[in-house]
């Protein structure tokens, strides 16, 4: 059959198919029509019709398979499922990475804390004196920052800082972890050492109440989320380094699917933490309330982390 004959027989069918594919709902005969188009493409190829015609049919098939094999669209149910079931499941699947990251973060933090407790002057090896002065000023109970009344607008400013900065760091760690874990491990260990050293320094100064009452509540979500993000990045990086029985490309794809709920969960945890850090933590109320609420939050986060990594629930 000559090409022009082939085109003139089928051209209305192709036009119908194209317009059906662009509609919202497709009729029951679309799959049948799609298979006919596939057949037309195969015929056009074997008969060596012109490239333009083959391209057109190729495009129609591509369009059709996009419509026919489109997955479920995003619904509230699916989004809820990510948090209610996929996130704990991913915690379980990646439990060794999570445990290692937890151990590394808290272990190194504890080492830094003890070191500075034993030898307070050692902090000057790591942190510049100017920065230490800032920290001292910030948490001095009699200083201008602690006694000054904070306004809502500076709360909003800090909320922006926390969102931009903390979630940015978590995403950087997740993405950077894909480079053989390096991009995740360095920020994780750096932050843990820094946190441990600063805490010890503040205890040394005797400002622990204003410091710990500030960090306790949001720390539950924030630190845990940073650890989870780091663990997720490490998993991708480690699978790239050691793909095991898979090819490297498949190992990367496979680990990507497994850790995605983790980073989504960490993102939500960090948004919650930013709200707490901006609007609750600086509230001018007796510290005991903050300790109580903070302990409750720590209990919830630890329990969820435990049931997640232990039972995937």
């Amino acid at each position: 059959m000559k090409q022009n004959q082939f085109v003139s027989i089928n051209t209305t069918k192709w036009a119908d198919f194209e317009s059906l594919c662009q509609g919202k709902e497709y009729p029951a005969n679309l799959p049948q029509l799609y298979r006919q188009i596939c057949n037309d493409l195969a015929l056009a190829r074997t008969r060596h019709y012109s490239p333009a015609l083959i391209d057109k049919l190729n495009e129609l098939v591509r369009l059709g398979q996009g419509v026919l094999y489109a997955g479920e669209s995003i619904s509230f149910k699916n989004i809820w499922l990510v948090f209610s079931s996929e996130f704990p499941k991913a915690l379980y699947v990646c439990r060794y990475y999570i445990w290692l990251a937890l151990a590394a973060f808290w272990g190194l933090g504890l080492i830094a804390f003890s070191w500075i407790q034993i030898d307070p002057d050692a902090i000057y090896h790591f942190i510049a004196p100017a920065q230490l002065n800032d920290i001292e000023r910030m948490y001095n109970p009699a200083g201008d920052i602690q006694t000054e009344k904070r306004h809502v607008d500076s709360d909003v400013l800090m909320f922006g800082v926390y969102i931009y900065n903390n979630i940015g760091i978590a995403f950087q760690m997740f993405g950077g972890g894909a480079l053989f874990c390096i991009g995740a491990l360095i920020p994780l260990l750096f932050n843990s050492f820094y946190f441990g050293a600063i805490s010890a320094y503040i205890v040394e100064l005797g400002y622990q109440d204003s410091f710990f009452s500030f960090v306790i509540t949001h720390g539950s979500f924030e630190l845990t989320a940073i650890i989870i993000a780091g663990a997720a990045g490490c998993k991708i990086g480690f699978h790239l380094l050691n793909p095991g029985k898979y090819t490297r490309s498949y190992a990367l794809k496979h680990s990507g699917v497994q850790v995605l709920p983790l980073i989504v969960g960490a993102f939500v945890m960090l948004v919650i933490a930013a709200f707490i850090e901006a609007f609750w933590s600086p509230l001018d109320i007796p510290s005991v309330f903050k300790y109580i609420v903070g302990s409750i939050f720590w209990a919830i986060v630890s329990y969820k982390l435990y049931t997640g990594t232990r039972y995937g629930a």
């Binding site: 000559k2 090409q3 022009n4 493409l41 012109s50 400013l157 993405g175 480079l179 990367l252």
Partner: protein, 229 residues
Amino acid sequence: MTQGLNNSINNALPEGVSITLTPAGISIRTKAYLFDFLIRALVMLVFGFVFSFMGKAGQGILLVLYFIISWGYYIVFESLNGQTPGKKRYKLQVVQDNGLPCKLPNIVLRNLLRPADSFPFAYFVGLIVMALNNKYKRLGDWAAGTMVVYLEDKKVNLVSQTKDILPPKFDLSTEEQLAIIQFFERSEELSQARQAELASILSAVLKAEGSEASDKLKAIARFYAGQEI
């Protein structure tokens, strides 16, 4: 058709045919990236100007917006139809490895891995990874199982039907015939001089030079397209 410079890949479908996808290379994706970058920079500038009048709260909102634009721009646009404005401008689309439209998890993953690709600066790692595989996938694409392909022009550019047809006096293989047809189809994008130059390569068999050769070649192309005999 997997010869020479042709970099398209064939993807077998369960329906028994394979479709052809043409992965987009480094240069066009860089152009699309720069276009998107320009848009993001402009939007941020406008926001920066507007919120600079609103004091500290304005700065806070601005930072949240910066965050949303720098991380969410790609995720939002690509999850709609696989195209950011830059990709749309250069007729590119993100699809899954099998050619199907991307789903949200693919998009989120490929964009959250940008820090790895942009390490240490200017997408250095990403460019190297892209250069090392025939689908031009960067690290994020590998992890998410996606690639960026050219969208075919949907308008059918069939060889036009006129009386000007020349049955050739020699036999050509199918691929050679297709090359001549493609010359015809591309000729609208080429200048007259370039057409003549290309056609003159065949001057020995066409027994013509310059624009005469290109006209003759087009007439042969019409014959091969089988429009009218």
